[in-house]
């Protein structure tokens, strides 16, 4: 910004230029446009989502534009860009344009149509699952890092465990015991309040001392829970949950998300531990800013960089986890294609028909890469100190 002297404005009678007010969104957009790689990432990413959305409509219905389900055994494992043999195919089985753009698989199904059909499921699995994981991770990691040193009293832990258990029972369909346990929780709450009241009058018994014992800190509680979750081989954990719940793609997204938040939690906790003692956090507290506002407005933008990096990688993992589940018959039911199951089906023919693994692999790569580039740009936008570098 060019600096003019006071005199200049007095002489010319010009209004001093006021730095235009710019919302954070607009500023972010301006910076994004300047960062070409990140912008390209965003464009590719949006393009893929539009294609996926289009694919949703183009491959469904009774007479879809691209039919992924037509089996042509006489045309199996044709390479990409090969023309359909019109003389041996009946007219309703000819692919659109008479061309196998991405080749065909072992059953002679058009891979392009299958990729289109699978795009929406794969993208949403990737993003919804990672979105859930990141949300849980930021929340738990944030609480653990910020409130971590506060100890929980034995009565709070007890009450929390009872209420959680009763909630879980109700959700699992064991309503009777759930409600009974809920009532027990209510009675306990009243009992604890009574003990507390008596304690404030100075009556101290073994009970009060037990219940007021500072048992463990919130940090320990959350981080040990993370350790427990990490102990399970996560794939088998997913298998167990999927076996209990009705198999639908949304359940799978949620389950993958619920079993992959631990890494993010650790990242966020570590960042928060170092940020919590920074002067600007103390300064914000001294200004009367509330704890939640400090967490969300002051600390998360500073802690977001490693989270974004790990999230972009998790997207690929989530897409492939879904593929593994489909492979075992617990994911999306077989005739429906996803990028993951095209990939895992194709690996049997990797030498005869490399495109069957190559094409979905490249598609996943492009999505992850574009999101990664966008994520990097986002990180620069959120953290002005990093801007000077690029």
């Amino acid at each position: 910004m060019k600096a003019y002297s006071e005199n200049y404005f007095q002489k010319t009678g010009m209004e001093r230029p006021l730095a235009p007010r710019e919302t954070r969104w607009r500023e972010g957009w301006r910076l994004l446009k300047r960062n070409r790689l990140a912008f390209a990432g965003l464009v590719i990413f949006i393009l893929f989502f539009l294609i996926a959305l289009a694919g949703l409509f183009l491959t469904s219905g009774t007479k879809p534009v691209f039919d992924p389900a037509v089996v042509r055994l006489e045309e199996k494992l044709r390479p990409p860009l090969s023309n359909a043999k019109l003389e041996i195919l009946s007219s309703d089985r000819v692919p659109r344009l008479g061309l196998y753009l991405f080749g065909t698989d072992e059953l002679g199904r058009d891979v392009f149509s299958r990729m289109l059909q699978g795009a929406w499921v794969s993208l949403t699995v990737g993003f919804v699952a990672v979105g859930i994981a990141v949300l849980i991770g930021i929340l738990l990691g944030g609480i653990s890092g910020y409130y971590g040193q506060n100890a929980m009293r034995a009565d709070q832990i007890f009450l929390g465990a009872v209420l959680l258990l009763s909630g879980g029972l109700v959700l699992m369909g064991i309503t009777f015991f759930g409600v009974v346990l809920l009532c027990v929780g209510g009675v306990l709450l009243v009992f604890f309040q009574w003990v507390k009241k008596r304690a404030s009058k100075g009556v101290e018994t073994a009970w009060t001392r037990f219940l007021w014992m500072r048992a463990i800190s919130i940090d320990t509680l959350i981080m040990r829970f993370v350790d427990i979750m990490l102990c399970f081989p996560s794939f088998f954990l997913i298998l167990t949950v999927v076996a209990l719940l009705p198999a639908s793609i949304y359940n799978i997204m949620i389950v993958i998300g619920l079993t992959s938040w631990m890494g993010t939690t650790r990242f966020v906790r570590a960042e928060f531990l170092s940020l919590r003692d920074q002067d600007f956090v103390t300064a914000a507290r001294a200004l009367g800013v509330s704890n939640w506002r400090i967490i969300f407005r002051h600390m998360i933008p500073n802690a977001i960089a490693p989270v974004l990096v790990s999230a972009t990688i998790s997207i690929a993992t989530a897409i492939l986890t879904e593929a593994g589940l489909s492979f075992l018959g617990l994911g999306v039911p077989p005739p429906h294609a996803t990028w993951g199951n095209i990939l895992s089906d194709g690996k049997n023919f990797i030498f005869d028909a490399p495109w069957l693994t190559f094409i979905p692999g490249v598609a996943i790569l492009i999505v992850v890469l574009s999101f990664n580039l966008f994520g990097e740009g986002l990180r620069d936008i959120l953290n002005p100190r990093l801007r000077e570098r690029s």
Partner: protein
């Protein structure tokens, strides 16, 4: 009485040891007055003001007793929500390190406006105008162009000015400044001190200024509290303290100041170091370093001795002499 701390005790508990950071400290700041807290590092100056605002990390710290009266109300009795309404709006604080006290990811406009918007319901345009006015008041040239700068684009002195602007955003009744010039070089330090004096006159606010620099004290203070190892050693008007120090510690501090008379001679220094707050000596905490020590100093905690005119000193030995 604007702000009055009475017999405040704050202990730190760690590794099974108790560090008595504040051991019965009392001080007060009247309306429109500049009060300085002086003392070496680790004597409890910062702990005492963090306790006033109730932003002391707890644990390890714990308030063991005493009162923090702000306009007659004990701040230690308030809950967190009520405290949030006082922080920033009625009592504001400026920190030592301007380099790290601003959030690196927000523009200074965002941060000053936040200081306003947290406490007052004004629309964004008005907040912006106030923000510009505040930056003008703290002497930032062409504030309109600076608004969108990020903290890393400003110099240390400018950042400290922004911190001061944030502290003044809601017209607080008292501003606590915790060594605001320690991290700045001497010319900037003089500018900032002038700014404080100017602002205080204009706004009729009280200033509680923490420093270990006696030159700064002589420059701006009305009254001084000298702290040593978690207790007030001596208190009084700035002229009393500088011309008739009545505590061996204050005398030692003043003797350690360089001046023209002492040119060419070895500068005086107080022997020994500040005691570890976890292992304070018995009796008077200063006795291992004191030149005037007598037998009772080693066993009996000294009482405050009144010299009149608000000048008190915690040294009966010099009082009786």
């Amino acid at each position: 009485m604007m702000l009055s701390i009475q017999d405040l005790k704050v202990y730190f508990f760690s590794d099974g040891r108790v560090a008595r950071a504040l051991d019965g400290v009392s001080y007060e700041a009247r309306k429109g007055e500049t009060v300085c807290l002086v003392g070496e590092s680790g004597c409890g100056k910062t702990v005492s003001v963090l306790t006033i605002l109730r932003i002391l990390p707890q644990p390890p710290g714990r308030i063991m007793g005493g009162k923090v009266l702000f306009n007659g109300q004990n701040l230690l009795d308030l809950n967190e929500e009520e405290m949030q309404k006082i922080r920033g709006r009625r009592i504001a604080m400026i920190f030592q390190e301007p380099m790290t006290s601003l959030n690196p990811v927000f523009t200074i406009e965002d941060q000053i406006e936040e200081a306003i918007l947290v406490h007052e319901k004004v629309d964004i345009e008005e907040a912006r105008q106030r923000c510009i006015q505040l930056l003008k008041d703290v002497g930032i040239p062409s504030p309109e162009e600076r608004l969108r700068d990020y903290p890393h684009q400003l110099s240390g002195g400018q950042r400290q000015r922004v911190m001061i602007a944030m502290a003044l955003a809601c017209n607080p009744e008292i501003v606590i400044a915790d060594e605001p010039t320690t991290a700045l070089d001497v010319t900037i330090q003089a500018q900032i001190l002038n700014l404080f004096r100017e602002l205080k006159q204009k706004r009729e606010m009280s200033l509680l200024y923490i420093t270990h620099d006696l030159g700064v004290v002589a420059n701006i203070a009305d009254r001084v509290y000298v702290m040593y190892a978690g207790v007030i050693a001596e208190q009084g008007e700035v002229a009393h303290i500088f011309h008739h120090p009545r505590h061996p510690y204050t005398q030692g501090l003043l003797a350690s100041l360089p001046n023209r008379v002492k040119r060419g001679k070895t500068l005086h220094s107080i022997p020994g170091t500040v005691p570890n707050p976890a292992y304070k000596p018995e009796g008077c905490p200063f006795h291992p370093r004191c030149p005037d020590v007598i037998g009772t100093c080693r066993v009996q905690f000294p009482e405050m001795c009144d010299y009149g005119g608000g000048h008190l000193s915690r040294c009966p030995v010099l009082y009786e002499r």
